[in-house]
């Protein structure tokens, strides 16, 4: 009987002091030995609740069993049956709210099995040992399917449809693929080589990738379905539009949306200016407004850009923060300062129009609001000024309206989200499916992947049904073969 530890096996990571000036990946991943030790903590439950907690239902129990037996190759193939982007999910999934929250160990006073870390280990092991065999359906189907957006939803849908034999084209508005994985999540958390590799895998499966195509501008959904000959379209354009605070001084120089700040750094490599042409403000004191995943990314990037002090300013308390546990812990380790219960009321500029401070007021939590979280109420007389020469507003995003605006008859809800069936992704337009943040508002990578997967199944059914209707009609009129 092996010794079972009550705690997760620690994952090696870079020293926090070193991290403050390095863009290299922070978490280093398990060794084979560490992975086996961790996998042996799994009780191999009869009824694995963890799998219910996974939006794409990865066979978690089985892959962990294989890791414990050192059958890493089989573990990788087991994961891939349900998840084609395990190296990404193993790094960015909010496991504490999903699979790991359902682990029986966690309900038994221990720490759950480190499912995310094991998934990452298996995916990295596979990449290091010869990569991924591409799984293409032997029968090629004639229908072309367009995937709008190359983020997690689009990549998953593309992969599933290519496996079923369809001719898939992914259309990306930017000059590099991956969507939020490219422009949003920083290199130290998700190395872009992993995203590149996953895109290359899809290309090897026959998926065509087209960049600089802004659907709604360069081509419309109607042009895709009519002139360009696509039989179905999947819209996975994400929640790309930044939300601002609407307080005075928000347009001062040095005030960024998190989207802009992170895009400058991640997509445009502004941290490497002037080697790369795109610049970004080099902060001395940074203030990031918000406490979700994106806020943690922004505060940790600002530290890496040289901020001596980097603050998170959040109007609620630590308990209500949206960030993943791991990213929050990393931010703390790297020296971010957390101003909980603090509401920014305006940004103060210097004589040259640069932001120099944030005026704030302290809050206390009152009754729960619509979101179910306790509403922050300003405390009179508690105003103070926080010095900051870089401000990043990370309050979330709204769906990008470009596609809905340019597509007649595509229904959206009051938040601008495309109305789509949660099971099929079907929209108000025939042949148009949607999934991910464009239908739900800002959520997670894995939820978008789940939606991409369900839509791929529904698109397959839709196209098969259409094909059978056509062939039935042909039989009736005796037009077979023409």
């Amino acid at each position: 009987m092996p010794i079972v530890y009550p705690h997760k096996t620690e994952m090696p990571s870079r020293d926090p002091q070193e991290r403050r000036s390095s863009w290299d990946e922070v978490a280093l991943g398990y060794t084979e030995e560490q992975a086996v030790v961790e996998a042996r903590r799994c009780l191999q439950c009869q009824d694995p609740l963890c799998e219910e907690g996974c939006p794409v239902n990865v066979p978690i129990r089985e892959f962990i069993r294989l890791v414990a037996l050192r059958r890493f190759d089989e573990a990788a193939r087991t994961i891939r049956r349900r998840n084609l982007l395990p190296a990404i999910c193993g790094r960015v999934c909010p496991v504490e709210h999903q699979c790991e929250s359902r682990c029986v160990l966690a309900h038994d006073g221990q720490e759950p099995v480190a499912i995310g870390r094991l998934e990452r280990f298996v995916a990295d092991w596979e990449r290091a040992h010869g990569g991924t065999p591409s799984l293409v359906h032997p029968v090629r189907r004639a229908e072309k399917v367009a995937i709008v957006g190359s983020g997690p939803a689009g990549l998953t849908a593309a992969s599933d449809l290519a496996q079923r034999g369809y001719q898939v084209t992914v259309l990306e508005a930017l000059h590099a693929f991956g969507g939020v994985l490219r422009y949003g999540i920083p290199e130290y958390r998700l190395p872009k080589a992993i995203v590149d590799q996953d895109v290359e895998n899809l290309k090897a499966m026959g998926v065509e990738f087209a960049r600089d195509v802004i659907v709604g501008k360069t081509v419309t959904i109607d042009q895709l379905l009519r002139g360009l000959g696509f039989a179905a379209v999947f819209v996975g354009t994400g929640a790309g539009q930044p939300v601002f605070l609407n307080v005075p001084g928000e347009n001062l120089k040095g005030v960024y949306s998190a989207n802009e700040f992170l895009t400058r750094v991640n997509l445009m490599h502004a941290h490497a200016f002037p080697e790369y042409d795109t610049p970004v403000r080099r902060p001395r004191r940074a203030a990031v407004i918000g406490a979700g995943d994106t806020a943690m990314d922004a505060v940790r990037c600002s530290i890496r850009l040289g901020a001596e002090e980097a603050h998170i300013v959040y109007r609620r308390s630590e308990e209500e923060k949206g960030a993943r546990a791991e990213d929050y812990r990393r931010a703390v380790e790297e020296g971010a300062i957390f101003d909980w219960l603090t509401l920014p009321t305006r940004f103060i500029g210097d004589a040259d129009g640069w932001v120099k401070a944030v005026e704030c007021i302290r809050t206390e939590l009152g009754e729960p609001d619509e979101s179910g979280r306790r509403r922050p109420v300003p405390v009179p007389g508690s105003e103070f000024v926080l010095e900051a020469d870089l401000v990043v507003i990370a309050l979330g995003t709204r769906p990008n309206p470009l596609v809905p605006q340019a597509t007649e008859g595509l229904a959206v809800d009051g938040h601008g989200c495309i109305v789509a069936d949660t099971e099929t992704g079907g929209t108000s337009r025939d042949g148009v499916f949607a999934g991910g943040d464009i239908t739900t508002g800002a959520a997670t990578v894995i939820l978008a992947m789940g939606a991409g997967r369900r839509a791929a199944t529904a698109i397959d059914e839709y196209l098969r049904e259409k094909a059978s209707l056509v062939s039935t009609a042909a039989e009736r009129t005796g037009n077979i073969g023409l």
């Binding site: 084209t169 259309l171 508005a173 930017l174 000059h175 422009y183 065509e208 087209a210 960049r211 600089d212 195509v213 802004i214 501008k217 360069t218 081509v219 419309t220 042009q223 360009l228 790309g240 539009q241 930044p242 601002f244 609407n246 928000e250 347009n251 120089k253 040095g254 960024y256 949306s257 989207n259 802009e260 895009t263 400058r264 997509l267 445009m268 490599h269 200016f273 002037p274 080697e275 790369y276 042409d277 795109t278 610049p279 129009g353 990008n400 309206p401 470009l402």
Partner: protein, 280 residues
């Protein structure tokens, strides 16, 4: 899907301005007056928005005019016929809303004279009377007279030094023409920020509805980054998707001008580096 963009014609307009005709069928197909494209010309390069000067949907071409003012624009101007442009994304921005009647005056300052051409062409096709007023520092910097002149009912040139046409600013000529009873019913201006501010002030005095084309700093051009936000009538708008044309009298020009200068110091560093590269 063919997303390539190839330079098929190149014409230097002045010492610092180059016209490129780019074969980019996908971009040309949906192009409309008032829109722009975003270019990237090197793997380490930035994304730069450039107004569309002309488009031909049948031929699949987009014409742009580029002023050599920085590291990236120097690289664009150095492109030769037959070369492919690394990234050429568009058409972006909302097409400008043009009138169906009346007398429109188009104002182009410097290389902005290129950007008013598609408006002139469309207005002419709609049967709207079109006058153009173009301005430059000196005669040698006046561009595209051959293109713009024939597309307009009236064509006025102004130079700061008086070397060609009216001696003075475009707004001086505009107010002179208004005073003479030109009877303009709408105005569209593209040019440097101080010129557009002056146009806003002049047209306000004459109660002439005017739209100006703003070109703040941009990255994605699809409404994702918010870097191009401008205050219009006290509301924050994104120039890349809500614009680039906005009502002149509602624009906060101080803010646009200030935000455009955000990376002035970095741009200087970048230009010096580019010059050093050329010298080496």
């Amino acid at each position: 899907m063919d997303t390539t963009a190839t330079v098929i014609e190149k014409r230097p307009l002045t010492d610092v301005t180059t016209l490129l005709v780019v074969r980019a069928p996908l971009v040309a197909r949906n192009a409309a007056p008032g829109q722009f494209v975003i270019l990237r010309v090197s793997e380490t390069g930035e994304r730069v928005p450039i107004s569309i000067t002309d488009f031909d949907r049948e031929a699949g071409t987009i014409t742009i005019v580029v002023q050599n003012v920085g590291r990236t624009s120097a690289l664009i101007c150095a492109l030769e016929v037959g070369e492919e442009i690394l990234d050429f994304a568009g058409p972006l921005g909302a097409p400008v809303e043009l009138p169906d009647r009346g007398h429109a005056v188009l104002i182009g300052g410097g290389f902005g004279a290129g950007a008013i051409y598609p408006l002139a062409r469309e207005l002419e096709a709609r049967g709207v009377r079109v006058s153009a007023i173009v301005g430059a520092r000196t005669a040698g910097l006046v561009i595209l007279s051959d293109l713009l002149g024939p597309a307009c009912d009236e064509y006025h040139v102004c130079t700061d030094d008086g070397s060609l046409g009216y001696h003075g600013l475009v707004t001086g000529r505009l107010e002179e023409l208004l005073a003479e009873g030109a009877g303009y019913t709408s105005c569209f201006a593209v040019g440097p920020m101080p010129m557009m501010r002056a146009v806003a002030e002049a047209t306000a005095r004459w109660h002439l509805p005017a739209l100006v084309s703003l070109d703040p700093l941009m990255i994605d051009g699809t409404g994702m980054c918010g870097g191009c936000r401008v205050s219009v009538g006290g509301e924050t708008k994104f120039a890349c998707v809500d614009g680039p044309f906005f009502p002149a009298d509602a624009v906060d020009f101080d803010e646009v001008t200030d935000r455009k200068a955000m990376y002035a110091e970095d741009e200087r560093v970048s230009c010096e580096l580019a010059e050093a590269e050329v010298t080496v």
